[in-house]
Symmetry: C2
């Protein structure tokens, strides 16, 4: 199978994309779904924005290097990946803050309705944000309702204001059918808010075609925008006039540099901006997004599926599948670009794997999570990673004390 | 006077601080109050966080390089400059977003009171944020009341929930008496929220001693954290348990990596965090803040005052004071680290000055604004800047067409 892996890498039409990235030697990085690798263009831009733009051109860079347009420019580069006309997408703040804005703004469009339905296994911050809004506005204006993924459709009725869902489950990788669910929700007059954190840059998405109302997403995973890079948000054109978000900072003003004493929202999605943008982070993101100009997202999806299937074959070959139980859907079309395996020692196994140069991650309570970033991961990487995992499991090296301490992050 | 300027630079105990910065040659930068200059340590850190931490250590940097602690580490470096015990200060998001959190949280501590009093000449985003909250919560829970700076004290009464003020007026540089006003407000049971955007790093501040309730501030002006660097916020220890902010993202959770489905706020000011921090920007900020370890803020204030007074002397010497009318207080103790001059052609004069290598800024409708960053600006800089201004005014070069186009930013 090692030979097979090499052959598939040679035939891979995306193989050359790896040249856009700095990948450490002796490292197989299966965590691009948590933090994407460093694009060479991002490194160059980081130097440029700090040394030249900030250091030499100072305040004049707001015009000279168009810092002021960065949120819009990033939005323009992300929009095609979402199947969205570009003027509906902008970049700012974090997913958490942007969800707060979208949910409050969308609630105001639904007089008489108070319920926000989401899944109990949604990424926690999505749920927490609804809890915060419920606390702020009171239950007479906002009520959180959580359901199982399997129970989404039966929770839809004419009392629901908003359906808030993440397309790809952060633990299992299970993919929800955005087109169908959106349609069914809208038959009840429900507004849909989709979190695309684990989708953007790896799944083909068609927000406009699927008639999605609002969306947020992350740029530091498959979009490789750098740690904590600004999030994106999408507001469908049909909502742009009625939608008003509540964190009305000066960057969302129609004419911020008139310093008017009264707030007038900017046209379109730009009203969603709040404070001064994080220029260094956003410049790096903008450069990172340049990679996507020449990349066909359908090809990325095809390779992502092939990588996942190949890993399952390798796991079977090494007889690891019984011990590390698949927690992701078996049907590849039903999965995002990741595989989750259950094991009571998942944390320690992950640490042992990392010590062998294979970076995956652990998700509480018992998930070993493996992500495939098709732009820089190949089939031979998967083979080698599984070979190392086989040794770890056979020799039970993960039982060593130093792999047992619990401490991990995003 | 040129000789006098040189002598004062030689005697300046802060003169050596300039070595910490990259200042472009042939540039006199009088806009550090808008965007601080590039500290050399920040440049080094930018490279390190991008090339080594992101590029090589990837996701492991959250622990290995303590990315997860950056908000707290930045807070610890800022706290002494605010006269605050360190565990009351953190860094995250923007001033606008942080004001939203503080104001909503503070309103909830004031049952039965709805009014938020601020000045009509406050920085616009502060006013806009209150307008947004009023719109979101309704006037029965939040009412914006704006007054003249001179009318602040007479607006204080037992119906007011919150007094929101900026210590240094962004246009005129007028300084409000934080200690006295806070005390008077608190006599009416009012909570105070201070915006320290134009204060931090240049005015001695004593938040704890003055019994301030809440504060926000900017790190990209006198703290030199880089364009759009994350803002800071201060929550007085006595409010830490009762205060609950509404944008309850996962980074404010007591145990974010347990991925619990229910929100429990972190202890202390850390509950004010929301989404994943902007690591690159915050690392750069952290390095920039290192400069302050060895600097006495009282000395910075003394030099700031001396620079302002010296500029007024130069303006008088060049007979510019009649034409460029001072819009800042005449009493130096009453001013922040800036001078504002009124002129109908202020925009064009500013552009002409920039073309001569002196960077100041324009604030609508008619203010030429000059800021003094005492860590890297000297007396000779002021002399040369005024000499160039004299030529511009005498020759009326600012009337040239290419200086007349209106387009400017923060």
């Amino acid at each position: 199978m090692h030979e097979e892996a090499r052959k598939r890498d040679q035939q891979d039409p995306l193989a050359s994309c790896r040249e856009h990235f700095e990948i450490p030697t002796n490292c197989i990085y299966l965590d691009g779904n948590s933090l994407g690798a460093l694009p060479k263009a991002a490194k160059t831009r980081a130097l440029e924005v700090v040394e030249q733009q900030w250091g030499q051109d100072l305040i004049t860079s707001w015009n000279k290097h168009a810092w002021i347009n960065l949120p819009q420019q990033c939005g323009e580069r992300i929009a095609p990946l979402l199947g969205a006309k570009h003027d509906q997408v902008t970049c700012c703040d974090s997913i958490s803050v942007n969800l707060f804005k979208l949910l409050c703004g969308a609630l105001a469009l639904q007089p008489g309705r108070t319920k926000i339905v989401t899944t109990n296994d949604n990424f926690p911050t999505d749920v927490y944000i609804v809890q915060g809004i419920q606390q702020l506005l009171g239950e007479q204006r906002c009520q959180l309702v959580t359901v199982e993924e399997a129970g989404i459709e039966s929770a839809l009725n004419d009392e629901v204001a908003i359906l808030l869902l993440t397309q790809v489950n952060f633990r299992t990788g299970n993919v929800l059918d955005m087109a169908t669910i959106t349609k069914k929700a809208q038959q009840h007059g429900i507004l849909t808010v989709w979190d695309l954190a684990h989708s953007a840059g790896v799944l083909p998405i068609k927000l406009d075609e699927w008639n999605v109302d609002f969306a947020v997403g992350c740029t530091y995973k498959y979009l490789n925008g750098g740690p904590g890079a600004p999030a994106f948000m999408y507001v469908a054109e049909r909502h742009e006039n009625a939608f008003i978000q509540p964190i009305t900072g000066w960057m969302g003003h129609a004419t911020p540099f008139n310093f008017s004493s009264s707030y007038t929202p900017h046209e379109g999605v730009t009203q969603s901006l709040t404070g001064t943008p994080s220029v260094i982070s956003m410049s790096v993101l903008h450069a990172a997004l340049g990679i996507w100009n020449d990349i066909d997202i359908e090809r990325v999806r095809a390779k992502s599926i092939a990588l996942g299937e190949f890993m399952l074959e390798c796991m079977a070959h090494f007889k690891l599948a019984d011990e590390l139980v698949l927690a992701s859907p078996l049907n590849a079309l039903q999965r995002g670009s990741q595989l989750a395996f259950k094991h009571d020692q998942a944390y320690a196994i992950c640490q042992a794997w990392i010590s062998e140069g294979v970076i995956a991650d652990f998700r509480a309570p018992n998930i070993l999570r493996v992500g495939f970033a098709p732009l820089y991961i190949g089939f031979e990487d998967i083979w080698i990673a599984c070979e190392k995992l086989k040794t770890i499991m056979d020799q039970q090296t993960y039982l060593h004390d130093h792999f047992q301490k619990k401490h991990t992050v995003t």
